[in-house]
Amino acid sequence: MSDLFNGLIGGSAAALMVIVVLGLSALGFYMARSRAMASGNGDRRNLHSLPNYYGWNAAMLTAVPALGVLVIWLLAQPMMIDNAVFKTIPDSAIAEGSSRGLVMSDVRRLADGLDVIIQRGVMDAEQVTTLDAGTTDLRATLAAEGVALGSAVEQPVLDAAQMYRAQSSTGRFWMVALVTVIALAGFVLSLRVTNADFRARNMVEKGILTLLILSASIAILTTVGIVLSMLFESINFFRLHSWTDFFFGSTWAPNFRGDSDLSILPLLWGTLYISIIALLVAVPIGLFSAIYLSEYAGPKLRSAAKPLLEILAGIPTIVYGLFALLTVGPALVNIFGRGEQGLLGVEWMSGATSVLTAGLVMGIMLIPFVSSLSDDIINAVPQAMRDGSLGLGATHSETIRQVVLPAALPGIVGAILLAASRAIGETMIVVLGAGAIAKISANPLEAMTTITTRIVSQLTGDTNFASPETLVAFALGLTLFVLTLGLNVIALYIVRKYREQYD
C-alpha cells in the first residue's frame, strides 16, 4: 500500500500536501461564506460577522492545524529515522579512522541515490529493493547519475540504506494520512459551526492574535537559543582551558600543539582602542551634521542630504574594509611612515594595517548611524523649547547649545552607546584594516587585533570542535555578546527615560 503510494507521489509529498491543504482551505473559505449567507437568509445584516469572516474562519481552521502538524512532522521524521537506523549499523561496518556519524551520512547519501536511480528509470523499485552489494557496483552506477559516494558500498551500509528508505516511505505515508485527516476535520468542523449566530469575527481575531504571539516568541526564543548554544560551547571551553588565563592572562598565542595562551585581554584592548578611535571620529562629525541638518538646513537641502547620508549607512562593511586596506592605510603610511620619503619624514608606521586605519574607517561607517539617530532626537525636542529661547532674545546657536542639546542629551548619549556597541561588534573593517597581531600597546600606528577577527580566524579552515583553540571562539563570542548587550541595555534605558519626558 505505502509502496504504491510512494510510487505515485514520491519525495514531493510535503509540497503536494501543502497544495492540497491550501486548496481545501480556499474551498472552505467559499463554502463557509455562502453557508453563512444562506443561514442569514441572504442578508448580511442578519449575520453576527461579515460573510468574509466566516470564510476566513473556515480557511484558518482547515489550513493552520494541518500545516502545523506537517511542519512538525517534517522536522521530527528525519531525526527519528536517523536514530533508528543509527543503532542497526554494526561496529564492523565502521572503518578504521572513520566514525559512526560519517557512516551515517554515507547511508543517507546512498538512500537518496537509490531514489534518484528509480526516478530516472535506471532500475525499477523491485530491482532496487533486492540489490546486493556483492554483485552490483553501486558506486559506479550512482556516479553515472551524478551521486558521489565516499567509498565502495558494503552490505551493512546498503542494508541500512534500504531500511532508511523503507522507514522514510512509511513515514511519508502516515504524514500524508494524518495531515489530510486533520485538514478535513478542520474543514468539516468549521462548516458545521458556521451559522448566523456564530462569532466568526472574534475567532478570526483570536487567530490573528495567535499569529502575532507566535512571531514574537520565535524572535525571543531564537535569541535564547543563540545565547544557550554559545553558553554550552563556552562551558566546554572552560573545561579544557583555565578561566584565569582566559580573563586575566596577557598573551594570545594559539597553536595546535596544545598548551596555547588564550587570553582575551590583548583582544579586548584592541577592540576597545579601535572603537574609541572610531567614536572620536564618528561622534563629533555625526552630531554636527545632525545639528546642521535638523536646525539649519532648508527643506530642499535636507531632503537631498538625508538620503545621501543613508546611502553611506547602506554600504556593506566589507567595502569599508577595502577602503581601509587600499586607500586609508597607504595614505597613513605616506604620512607617518616611509622614513625620508614620507610626508613627516618619520618611520613610525611600517604597514598599512593599524589601529588608526581601522578606527578612522569604522568612524566613517558610524557617522550616518550617529547622525540619523541624533537628527531624530533633535527633531523630537518640542518647538516650544526653541520658541521659548528665541523669545528671550537668544540667537539660534545659543538656543541649540543651551536648550536643544541639553534637552536632547540623554537621547544623544543613547545613540552614541548604540554606535559604540556596533563598533565593538564590527568585523570586516578590522579584519582588513587592523592587522592580526594580538598585543597591548598604546601606539595607534601599530597593527592590533580584535575579538571579532580572532573569532573568524579560529573558526575558519580545518576546525576540530574538541580543542580549546577552536572552542575559545565561543567564549570570545559570549564575552562580546555580554559587552554589547550591556551597552544596548544602558542605551535603551537612557533613550526610553528621555522619551517619557515629552510624552
Binding site: 532648508g298 516650544a384 523649547m385 520658541d387 523669545g391 528671550l392 532674545g393 537668544a394 545659543e398
Partner: protein
Amino acid sequence: MKDLMAERTVDTQKLKISARNVQVYYGDTHAIKDVNVDIEDKTVTAFIGPSGCGKSTFLRCINRMNDTIDVCRVQGDIMIDGEDIYDKRVDPVQLRAKVGMVFQKPNPFPKSIYDNVAYGPRIHGLARNKADLDDIVERALRRGAIWNEVKDRLDAPGTGLSGGQQQRLCIARAVATEPEVLLMDEPCSALDPIATAQVEELIDELRQNYSVVIVTHSMQQAARVSQKTAFFHLGNLVEYGETGTIFTNPTDPRTESYITGRIG
C-alpha cells in the same frame, strides 16, 4: 462685571507700539489684512477673536517671532518707540530681548528653576557677578509671584513644577531680561481657574512696569485684565478701543455678535 468696569481707571499713556497697514502672508494665505493699531505703554491690551482670526499671528509680528517660520511674510510698518522693528538695521535677536514673550503652553527649559530664570540675563550679560545674578533671579521670581513656592528648591528641574507654577516660571523668565513689552499668547489656556486667577493678578501687577499685550479666548479674562481691547475677525482688526466700551457698547455689529456669543 459691571462693578469691575466702573472701577477701571483709564489713564492716557504714551504710545509704545504703533502698527500701520500690516499685512501677513503664510505662503498664499493672507492671514492679516491691513491692521492699524496703537498700543500704549503701561497698559494691558487684549486681543480677542475667534480661532484662526490672526490675533496670535499679529502678536508674533511684534517681536518678529514670525521670522522663524519660513513661509511667513510681513509687510507694513510696526514701530516700537518710533523705531521700525522691520528695518534692516534692527537685529531681531536684540528686539526679542526688549519684547518678551510668554507662550500658550508653559515651556520651561529642561534645566533647574534657577537656570531657567537666569537664562536670559546670562545670554545678555545683565549680571556683573554671581551675587548680582542671584538678585536678578530672586527679583524676577518675586515678580512672577512664584518666589515663595520655589525659593527652597531653586535647583529642582523647572519641568517638575505644576502647570500653573510652570507658567508663572515662564513669566518670571521673560521678566528677568527686563523687557519693555510683554507679549502673552493665551497664557492661561492650559491652566485651571486658580492658576488662572494667580496669573491674571500677576498681569495686573506687571502693568506697573510694562506694556502687556495678551491674546485670549476668554472674554471674561479680557474684561478682567485689560484696559484696551482689539477684536480680530478673519484677519481684520474689526474694532479697537477701551475695554469697557468694547464690552458694553461696541460700534461694529460683528463685535457685538462675538461678545454676546452669536459668532465665534
